[in-house]
Amino acid sequence: MRSARVAYAGAVHTAVPLPPAAGGTPLRLADGRVVREDQVVWLPPFEVGTVIALGLNYAEHAKELAFNAQEEPLVFLKGPSTLLGHRGFTRRPDGVRFMHYECELAVVIGASARNVSRAHALEHVAGYCVANDYAIRDYLENWYRPNLRVKNRDGATVLGPYLVDAEDVPDPGNLALRTFVNGKQTQQGNTRDMITDIPALIEYLSSFMTLSPGDVILTGTPDGVVNVDCGDTVVCEIEGIGSLYNTIVADGVFGR
């Protein structure tokens, strides 16, 4: 099953997609109402706990950024203010030179995990969604990289559109990823090229921290990140998981 969280007519609802029709994919709210996908405000599709993100977890992307071998996965953490739903708007500050998307498979924890072995790791996964983990390289400093001003900006971590149940994703280690900017493909990869795969990430993380339901692991992005500008529409797509829309907007939209 796939489920979304949306705001509609004064309340937040869980919704499921119906078969696509003319004009898009209708959603059925838990209370029975059927609405168009552009009539709702899309929220991250689950109650998000700790946000764990991977840097340089695809070989080609690591090469693109001139990065050498790693002793352990490069993990950083994010806070809640950076989260955004499908079809949202992300601010590009005036004057920055390099803001880029990162299409990533997000792994959502469903059962508490502590000292979980690789063999049992996927039993702790509730499901998957698409993530677009924006970065603004202009703000990169060499302290506790990547610093939060680069990677934890308000509304710059997009999750959605749906949480897809783990049982509907038979092999999360073999999914194609693609990003389109204004309809043109700019990024492609496959989750089989992760340096540290999903079971190994869960084994590693749970060796020192308890993972709880709602915690989410953003598993890194392949190469092909390019600058995006105000007005661009960015679509991150993962095979069998979904297509996640976002629009880049200027400071003025935020009254700056």
């Binding site: 993990v75 806070g79 809640p80 203010s81 506790y144 990289r145 934890n152 308890t210 709880s212």
Partner: protein, 230 residues
């Protein structure tokens, strides 16, 4: 009025309900930057920090006063990074320094525990994000009860012996400036905690010892370090 935090009520006692989101600030105490000396300007850092450098203490790290903190087997000593935590009282986005303090509900003691590490370039999160590595408490002291947040004295004790005395007067970014600079790029929500930054060198402790962080007017926060059970 102050609210007692313990294992079961810590996150849900109005009006100072903690959200469970805790941020730490790197190198915001003059002593911390001074300890690095010229190295702070050299590779791999290449330049002093410009904007606030923050890190997340995730929800699994939060521990109650009195809770036992497990010392990992591969690190016999832990850093006891006691400091002042700012408890956010209303959504805080793009605060000016002049209005910043008004966004606070109050102050709380944070013990930002770490596995000792020497590089601040890209340290592993396992140094700071282990279960129980962020005791918070004993209560939130309302903002109105703290006359000068930029003159709070923090004392760290190990087994009752004073190890370090520092003051928020020695922060590179005083509290209002820190709040203003952080909320320029990320919103803080009610109940979020922003730790203002630990002083260095950081006192260390081992399993079997009791660590105490005391801040003038905010109370004291005691925790025991215990061995990992195989």
């Amino acid at each position: 009025m102050s609210i007692v935090i313990n294992d079961t009520v810590a996150m849900r006692v109005a009006p100072y309900r903690l959200s469970g989101t805790v941020y730490g600030t790197l190198l915001n105490h003059r002593s911390a930057l001074a300890e690095l000396g010229e190295a702070a300007s050299q590779a791999p850092y290449k330049a002093l920090p410009k904007a606030p450098v923050l890190y997340v203490k995730p929800r699994n790290t939060i521990a109650a006063p009195g809770a036992a903190v497990v010392v990992p087997q591969d690190s016999p000593e832990l850093e006891i990074g006691g400091c002042v935590g700012l408890v956010i009282g209303r959504p805080a986005c793009r605060l000016s320094p002049q209005e910043a303090l008004q966004a606070l509900a109050g102050f709380v003691i944070v013990n930002d525990i770490s596995v000792p590490h020497t590089s601040f370039y890209r340290p592993s999160i396992r140094f700071k994000a282990r279960d129980g590595f962020c005791p918070i408490g004993p209560h939130v002291t309302p903002r109105a009860d703290v006359s000068d947040p930029d003159a709070l004295t923090t004392r760290i004790f190990v087994d009752g012996v004073l190890q370090q005395t520092t003051s928020t007067a020695d922060l590179i970014r005083p509290i209002a400036t820190l709040l203003s600079d952080v909320t320029e790029f990320m919103t803080l929500f009610p109940g979020d905690v922003l730790a203002v930054g630990v002083a260095r060198p950081v006192p260390r402790a081992r399993a079997g010892q009791t660590v105490t962080v005391e801040v003038t007017g905010l109370g004291r926060l005691d925790n025991r370090l215990v061995e990992a059970t195989p």
